[in-house]
């Protein structure tokens, strides 16, 4: 079909002259990793908190946590991202909104993406944490209370140390998802991996090489994360449980 393959294109100087096209891809790769990891920190912290709150006997707290999860799970990620990026700065008090809009464009994109991905994923993490806590035998909580622990102490010393270890394998798939979902952030102009792939197509006119390279980069991220998490899962597995020694 007359397509001229040219893998050497990655080593050519880019259109702006200060880098090669491979350098562009690497910049996108770093952005994807940086964004996903920082969003993952938010997702873990908030998700653990909300997940725990969903299991507490206090109806109000559990209700708020449930509403939080339902809100973030039932609106598409793309819509959430656009709301963070385009809508929220308008709704903030004027001085704060202006401060956001006057900051560096990349900073705005990164910040909106990080918060969006973080909160979106936190709702999913919360569901995993909740089902981890609910999967514990009822006797654990009762035993803690019978020993004279208060409810917070029972959570702190008895239930959570177990639940957090049980919940690591299901969290691996959420961790993988956050890298994949970060590609959505290309839609607001953040130059992460997928966006760089699109740019490469436009600038090099070598669409196949560009897309194959970017796709392979995502597969590589996937494989590396899976391998690392697998090792981590085995170290943290609870003896006597599935996957434990």
């Amino acid at each position: 079909m007359g397509y001229q393959w040219n893998w050497g294109v990655f080593f050519q100087p880019s259109a702006t002259g200060d880098d090669t096209y491979l350098g562009w891809m690497f910049a996108g790769f770093k952005m994807t990793i940086g964004l996903s990891l920082s969003a993952w920190v938010i997702a873990l912290l908030l998700g653990a908190l909300v997940g725990v709150l969903r299991t507490v006997p206090n109806k109000l707290l559990a209700g708020i946590a449930t509403a939080y999860v339902e809100l973030f799970r039932n609106i598409p990620l793309l819509v959430q991202l656009f709301i963070w990026y385009f809508v929220l700065p308008e709704l903030l008090p004027e001085s704060l909104g202006n401060a956001f809009k006057q900051s560096h464009p990349v900073l705005q994109q990164f910040f909106a993406s990080m918060v969006c991905l973080g909160l979106f994923t936190s709702a999913r993490v919360a569901e995993q944490v909740r089902s981890g806590i609910n999967s514990l035998p009822k006797g654990q909580k009762n035993a803690g209370l019978a020993l004279g622990f208060t409810l917070p102490q029972t959570y702190r010393f008895v239930m959570l140390p177990m639940a957090f270890r049980l919940v690591v394998p299901p969290l691996t798939s959420e961790f993988l998802n956050i890298f994949k979902n970060s590609a959505v952030c290309s839609t607001i102009g953040l130059l992460e991996l997928a966006a760089q792939g699109r740019q490469l197509v436009d600038y090099t006119a070598q669409p196949y090489e560009s897309f194959i390279a970017v796709t392979l980069a995502y597969i590589a991220i996937n494989v590396v994360v899976m391998t690392l998490m697998h090792k981590f899962e085995r170290r943290i597995a609870v003896p006597g449980y599935i996957g434990g020694k």
Binding site: I75, L77, L78, V79, V87, S186, T187, A194, R198, V201
Partner: protein, 226 residues
């Protein structure tokens, strides 16, 4: 503070509804094709023929490792050109909708096949053995004995995946195809009312997906009373 002005929404409702129809069409066909192709993939994966099982494993792992956005970009930027040259389709034909449908169906099949595989494996082995003992062929036992039970167990999961898929259709935005979200964005951009239209779109998605997931929850209780 922002001065809300929702006045551009009522007039735009027919246009938004047209967009919603596109979202629903993509969702529906991707669910149907995804389940059919996903079932075949799951059966290949569980098959004793090594080549089939490797193919299915490779397919599923490939699609599950790549972001949907990336798959859609492949299907919008690369595949049409390739297919166009292959079948001599005149340049400039708008293939965005068919590309979107193909992309979603092939992508979702990978996720459906994992759900279906687990469903098939959840049916006890004795069922298959009993069917074989009755003289049924492999195809017959799958079709008449195993799959009906597997699908009954899987209904809630398949529907939940359909809700996720419906949300994901908003990503056709990368091809500027006017699905519901694309339509809302266009109207908001045109009237300078992006804030209102984006919030409206979010609310509509929320109402649809939340109600659907509540229905799924009820079904789940009916099928699997805990």
């Amino acid at each position: 503070m922002h001065d809300f002005d929702w006045s551009s929404i009522p007039g735009a409702l027919p246009f938004l509804w047209d967009g919603m129809k596109i979202s629903l069409v993509i969702t529906l066909q991707a669910v149907v094709v995804g389940i059919v192709w996903g079932t075949l993939l799951a059966m290949m994966r569980l098959s004793s023929i090594k080549a089939l099982s490797w193919f299915a494993a490779g397919y599923v792992n490939l699609f599950r490792a790549v972001p949907l956005v990336m798959v859609l970009l492949w299907f919008f930027l690369i595949v049409p050109e390739f297919v166009g040259q292959l079948f001599n389709i005149p340049k400039g034909t708008d293939m965005r909708l068919s590309s979107a449908m193909a992309g979603f169906a092939l992508f979702e099949a990978a996720y459906y096949s994992e759900i279906i595989r687990a469903g098939i494996q959840s049916v006890s082995k004795g069922q298959m053995a009993a069917a074989s003992a009755l003289g049924m062929t492999y195809g017959q036992s799958m079709r008449l004995v195993v799959l009906p039970q597997a699908f009954r167990n899987m209904v809630p999961l398949l529907l939940t995946q359909a809700i996720i898929l419906f949300q994901d259709t908003s990503l056709v935005y990368v091809s500027a195809l006017a699905d519901f979200f694309g339509a809302a964005y266009k109207v908001g951009d045109r009237d300078g009312r992006l804030v209102e239209l984006l919030l409206f779109a979010g609310a509509v998605y929320f109402v649809i997906c939340f109600s659907a997931s509540q229905i799924v929850k009820r079904l789940q209780k009916k099928y699997h009373p805990a």
